[in-house]
Symmetry: C2
């Protein structure tokens, strides 16, 4: 159990917040619209607070629960307030037809975030391969990628506090492939897999 | 059960050939080194034949069980002999350090094969996310991508003849992401997941 800040007040912020509270974490919610942040904090309960937009987040882990095109601007806006934090990017930069990514496949939102993050901050890609409703009702595997072993250990502990398994795929240079796996998940759902109630994960076969 | 041709005489050719024979398929093996093809055909048994290098393959499905950099050249060499065939590319274009792909992420070996394949041939990406030893002893999910629904149905039937589940992720433009998932599989293994005895797949959560 740790201190988590969620930047964002939308559906994914609510879902992750709900799981985080249930997992015994101390949660802070930040929203540009303070009333929405206040409402979400109240809805999450269990001591969840709504911080002040732009101030230093209280959580050691800061989850940017934003649409993909909002992540880099918000990290830039927060600037040094994120120094020393573990920034968790959960976004999926899907194109308008959900069959490709918006950016060149040579990069990822997570890597772009790392470029603008302040000194001492670490970036971890996580959660993006999971549909929100599956996160609410299932026990999906959570793929994580990042360059800092310490930051990944911190995110892994958080994931496990939610009752979920974290799967470390490697450094942040793997983030493009996790973003591609978000696309693969959409593709599989479009072909009727599990009536949409599924997530990519690992299946083990050892003895 | 169908007619399958495997181009290649290495370990992956042997593994897929073994499963294909067990699944009741009629198998042909093709190798540039005819004696190796003859040996593999004999080892696979059950009527497996070794065809003549360069001649029209007997199988409707032609699996190129080759190293990634051999696939496009062989498809070019075969040329019109592959007309009307379903070409299954199973390759992983890993770089020397196994933490990136050799080609730009804007393409994939499968898409490069499609560019040089003769008229009437269809290309399907499949099997590349599965370690060979897992394919031998487990029941891994087989992700497939391709632009022809008919070709994918044919590959799906073949996969099912092996007792495996085929998961259609969409068109051939998804092949880069399947190649990335090959890389993610290596990354997970490097982090100790399942002692290497695992494969990416889907986990379902519906009621």
């Amino acid at each position: 159990m740790g201190d988590i800040t969620i930047i964002g007040t939308g559906n994914m912020a609510r879902t992750i917040g709900t799981l985080a509270v249930a997992g015994g974490n101390t949660v802070e919610v930040l929203g540009r619209d303070q009333s929405k942040a206040d409402d979400l904090a109240k809805a999450l309960g269990s001591g969840t607070t709504a911080g002040e937009w732009g101030a230093v987040p209280s959580g050691d882990i800061v989850i940017t629960a934003l649409l993909y095109d909002g992540v880099v601007p918000v990290v830039v806006e927060y600037g040094d307030a994120l120094s020393g934090k573990v920034i968790v990017d959960i976004s999926n930069p899907f194109n308008a037809t959900f069959d490709g990514l918006t950016h060149s496949e040579e990069t990822s939102i997570a890597q772009e975030v790392a470029k603008v993050a302040p000194a001492g901050a670490s970036v971890v890609k996580a959660f993006n391969t999971i549909f929100r409703d599956v996160l609410e009702k299932g026990r999906p595997h959570v793929f994580i990628a990042g360059d800092s072993a310490e930051a990944k250990a911190s995110v892994k502990a958080f994931v496990e506090s939610l009752g979920l398994r974290a799967l470390d795929v490697g450094g942040l240079q793997m983030a493009p492939w996790l973003e591609g796996m978000g696309l693969v998940t959409v593709g599989l759902a479009g072909n009727g897999v599990g009536h949409g109630d599924f997530a990519l994960g690992v299946n083990e076969f050892n003895g």
